[in-house]
Amino acid sequence: MSSETVHAIIDDIGALLLFTMILIVAAGQIYRAIYAVAAQSLLIAIAAAVLAASTGNRDLWVIAGLTLGVKAIGLPWGLHVVVQRMNVRREVEPVIPIAATLALAVAIVVMAFQVSASLGPIRQAITGNALPVGIALTLTGVLVMATRRTALTQMVGLFASENGLFFTAMAVTQGMPLIIEIGVILDVILAALVMTIMVLRVRSTVDADIADLDRLRG
């Protein structure tokens, strides 16, 4: 596969990723958000596979497999189980209306492209629009975390932001050193684990949801 076609594929996957991001932001139901994140992880696994094929870098195959296994299937399934058994409220309670969040997401995307434009033409050609997409995904993931009340949706936001980061790492550098990638994935899992423990302890000791934990102020 020639590099132009790889670039074209990466750019298309980037566009699709942006679309899934809009889905996550617009998701009213938790399930929809989980599925969107699963789709996102799948797309990234495909991108990794494409890059592995084009550059022949064996690590990328391992990463593609890992992403597929852990992030496309493992974590969404875990979230799904948690939602079902822990009778978490289905709908997503947003802090600010979803329309406002969408407007902010658009602003983030515009800013991302404005910033990458500042890189100057030659640089932009090499990375294509992988960099702006990566920046947009990461920031929007955090935006989702900032505007959703329940802990679960915050985790979804965290995974979305990690995906954005992963995509940039792969697209811009054609593959990070393996141990770093492994380290990152491990960290995401660990963070998710600790967060679920905290959610359970808060619910058991204080029986309040994460949302109204704002006693410490000023």
Partner: protein
């Protein structure tokens, strides 16, 4: 010899953490704790002598140079002081019921794990390892922050985890971008800081600029720079006293070390002007934002938390003013503030234990009830406020001199006004606590010896650094400054 030291240093706390899990007896645990901290100190001093003799040494992903040494020495000194302080504090905490007897060993294990991750952060040469170690500190300290288990503790831990994890992910994004820029020319070794430094001038300024912004926001959140500082007062006030001393004293500094590492790269790639301006802006915001909260604060530990934000701002200002004088002042301020803030947290901890309330309006007449503790609290407050015979005044003078030197008159003016306002707030609170008639809530028992010893150790360092900077430390700081500014 240095290579073996390099990989032994992180191992010591990890091994101690595992050993801690085996025993239950509190006295034994404290003994191990102090022993391991002193071993760590001795090893660090040996390493320092080694580096002074034969320059920076590398071993795999770890590398120690003068810059790392400054932070390493601060870390080991504070760890020793914390372990000495913990002996007395723990006995009192278990007695009061703040700490369940059986969870003590998990507490010690987590503290040493926390120290291990910080050691790795300080010694990391590989930027990826640096990030992973940073993530490690977040997780270990998050559990420690929520260790007391009551409502506020959990809330503080939750906020701490969420905000810092987001911050760290931005940090990673920045690291990735810098790696991407470096990968084009440096090839395989692109993740190691020293390799990137050699090739930095050839990096593409655009990518490095965006990368530095992401790193600045990421590690800035961890360091407590405003406006990303909101988690800091909650976390530092809810954590147990020894942990908040470590958090405020060392963890913030490790994050600052991360920023300094990337600052050197960005300075080489897109000219020193860019990173210093960014640091200057964040420094000024931090110094200004902390003031109103310090003036009208009622909780003593939150007051010290906000005060840490101000002092991180001062360090950032020092780096922002740049030049050999500014950077020297910033590094000196890191050491000074680490020592003084730990002393302040210890003194506040003993005061809270005595009145078992955190509200400064309840703590009155401490001088009458606990004279040594009160004098140490006043010493720490005066030193934090930047009064001459103490060390922080010296570093503030150097930072100011750098500021005036480069003609940043506006920044210097804001800095001076804020320092005076915060001086007033801090002295008002410290004075209202130390003087006046002791309230009935004050416990009248004698002051435990071990916290006093820990505090006196730190106070001695603070006053010694205030009266004069010994040659060896000055040499170390000078060489570290050359790395950053050269």
């Amino acid at each position: 010899m240095a290579d073996t030291l390099l990989w032994v240093l992180p191992l010591v706390p990890i091994v101690t953490a595992l050993v801690m899990l085996t025993t239950r007896d509190r006295r034994m645990l404290s003994a191990i704790d102090i022993a391991s901290s002193s071993v760590l100190l001795v090893l660090a001093l040996l390493l320092a002598r080694e580096v002074r003799a034969s320059g920076p040494r590398a071993f795999g992903v770890l590398r120690v140079d003068d810059l790392g040494l400054v932070f390493l020495l601060l870390l080991v000194v504070l760890t020793l002081a914390v372990s000495i302080y913990t002996v007395g504090w723990l006995r009192q905490a278990v007695a009061v019921g703040n700490m369940q007897a059986d969870s003590v060993r998990f507490y010690f294990a987590l503290v040493h794990a926390f120290v291990a991750t910080m050691v790795v952060t300080v010694l990391a040469d590989n930027l990826g390892v640096l990030w992973i170690a940073m993530e490690g500190t977040t997780i270990t300290s998050a559990v420690l922050v929520g260790y007391h288990g009551h409502h506020h503790g959990l809330e503080a831990a939750w906020k701490y985890i969420i905000v810092t994890t987001i911050g760290i992910s931005f940090g990673l994004f920045g690291t990735v971008l810098i790696y991407a820029a470096a990968a084009a020319s440096a090839g395989a070794g692109a993740m190691s800081w020293s390799a990137i430094m050699d090739v930095a001038p050839t990096l593409d300024p655009g990518i490095v600029r965006i990368g530095f912004i992401f790193v600045m926001i990421g590690y800035g959140t961890k360091a407590g720079l405003a406006p990303m500082h909101l988690w800091l007062p909650d976390a530092h006030s809810q954590a147990p006293t020894p942990v908040s001393a470590l958090l405020s004293g060392v963890l913030i500094k490790c994050a600052l070390l991360g920023i300094i590492r990337f600052q050197t790269i960005a300075a080489a790639a897109c000219g020193p002007g860019f990173p210093t301006t960014v640091l200057l802006v964040f420094g000024l915001i931090s110094v200004v934002v902390a003031a109103p909260f310090i003036l009208t604060q009622h909780d003593i530990k939150r007051l010290l938390g906000y005060h840490s934000v101000e002092h991180v701002g001062i360090v950032a200002l020092g780096l922002g003013f740049g030049g050999p004088v500014g950077t020297y002042g910033a590094l000196l301020h890191v050491v000074n503030h680490g020592v003084t803030k730990a002393l302040a947290f210890f003194a506040a901890g003993t005061a809270i234990a005595r009145y078992n309330s955190r509200d400064m309006r309840v703590i009155r007449g401490l001088l009458g009830v606990a004279p040594i503790g009160a004098t140490l609290l006043m010493l720490a407050a005066l030193s934090l406020a930047g009064v001459p015979p103490f060390s922080i005044f010296v570093s503030e003078v150097i930072v100011l001199r750098a500021g005036i030197g480069d003609g940043h008159w506006a920044a210097v003016a804001v800095f001076l006004v804020m320092v005076v306002v915060i001086f007033a707030g801090l002295l008002h609170h410290a004075g209202s606590m130390a003087f006046g008639e002791p309230t009935p809530a004050a416990g009248r028992e004698r002051e435990a010896w071990s916290p006093i010893v820990g505090m006196v150790l730190l106070a001695a360092i603070m006053i010694a650094l205030g009266l004069g900077i010994p040659g060896s430390i000055d040499g170390l700081l000078r060489r570290a400054t050359e790395i950053i500014v050269d």
